[in-house]
Amino acid sequence: MSQGEGPATDNPVAYISHHLQPLQYGDGFWQINVDTMFFSTLIMLGVMWAAYKVGKNVSVGAPTGAQNILETLIDFVNGLVKEAFPKPNKIVGPLGLTIFVWVFLMNAMDLIPVDLLPKAAEMMGIVGQDGKYALKVVPTTDPHTTFAMALTVFAICVYYNVKNKGLGGYFKSFLVHPFGIALAPINFVLTMVEEIAKPLSLALRLFGNMFTGELVFLLIAILPWYIIPIPGSMWAIFHILVITLQAFIFMVLTIMYISLASEESH
């Protein structure tokens, strides 16, 4: 892809590795993935705009249009929350809804043909540090996004643990769970692993699924053009399921983790 033109099959390795390279600026800590930030914020602003419009013109009577869709979503999320939480919780519902909508839409960026936006950006002069196109349009294929959400959820879990069990009670749960106080050191290690595994699995599951999904699209893209439509469309249709499922799993696990953290000490 030295010229940025010609068929992808000329140099598949370079083609794929370019596609997996984010548009980055800065060095060290201040390295910013501009593409990830841009697309996730763009989606956020779009959702915020729609949410603001619906929220402002909310009607108590028969709901119409977007309000109907959002009410169905809210009812769905609220049902999950009410199942998991014995006492009402004000933050989990909106958190779950936001996660579902945001992750779903970020994942859905995967369905845009893989070359479309990077090529368009290259034409506008937006290129990577090596002067060639570099643009990851799916924010969830960037672990920064998935870890950011998972760590925020983790922080909320810690907050609820401390709030409901007390700082001492939370620490004690590390020592006595699951084998009782006699095996405190083993308990501590096990619970530590268990706690850390939660955000890690949350982040890596979403990242892994979306990254491999993107990779399969790229692999399909290096096939001859007359073959692409068949596996491409099949994978895209299948991917709709993956997109929805991953957004749903992230939301459900978030609700479950926070509900576990909200339990009184036992």
């Binding site: 800590f29 390295q31 990830t36 402002k56 672990p143 870890f147 760590l151």
Partner: protein, 157 residues
Amino acid sequence: MNITATLFGQMITFVIFVWFIKAYLWEPLTSAMDERTNKIADGLASAELGEKRIDEANVEYSRIVDEAKSKASDVITMANQQSSNIIGEAKTISKKEADKIIALSNQQIGQDLNIAKDALRKDISRIAISCAEKIIKAEINEEKHKAIFDEALKELK
């Protein structure tokens, strides 16, 4: 993955996003949904109440109609009784009056008859006497045959 500003940028974005959705979408919509639920529940309850009231009103209505019917038939019975009473009374009064009139006229007739009989008796006796006088003048004397005439007069009475 390195820990970079992107991670924190995404976290901040996420927190802002959640806050925004909570404030501008979740809360207005859930409160509207709750309000709607209450409204529907209220509407159903008042519909049920209205139905109950209609039932009650129907019962009351039929009770009033029944009462009115029985009252009307009572009035009719009473009126019939009253009229037959009046007719009966009138019959008795008029019969009495008629009887009185009849008795009075009978009495009158009796009196007239007696007067006529008296007058007749006197006339007959006078005529008989005058006839007898004439006969006796011609044949026998009055004193001799008076006893016979008296006897005949007694029979007339």
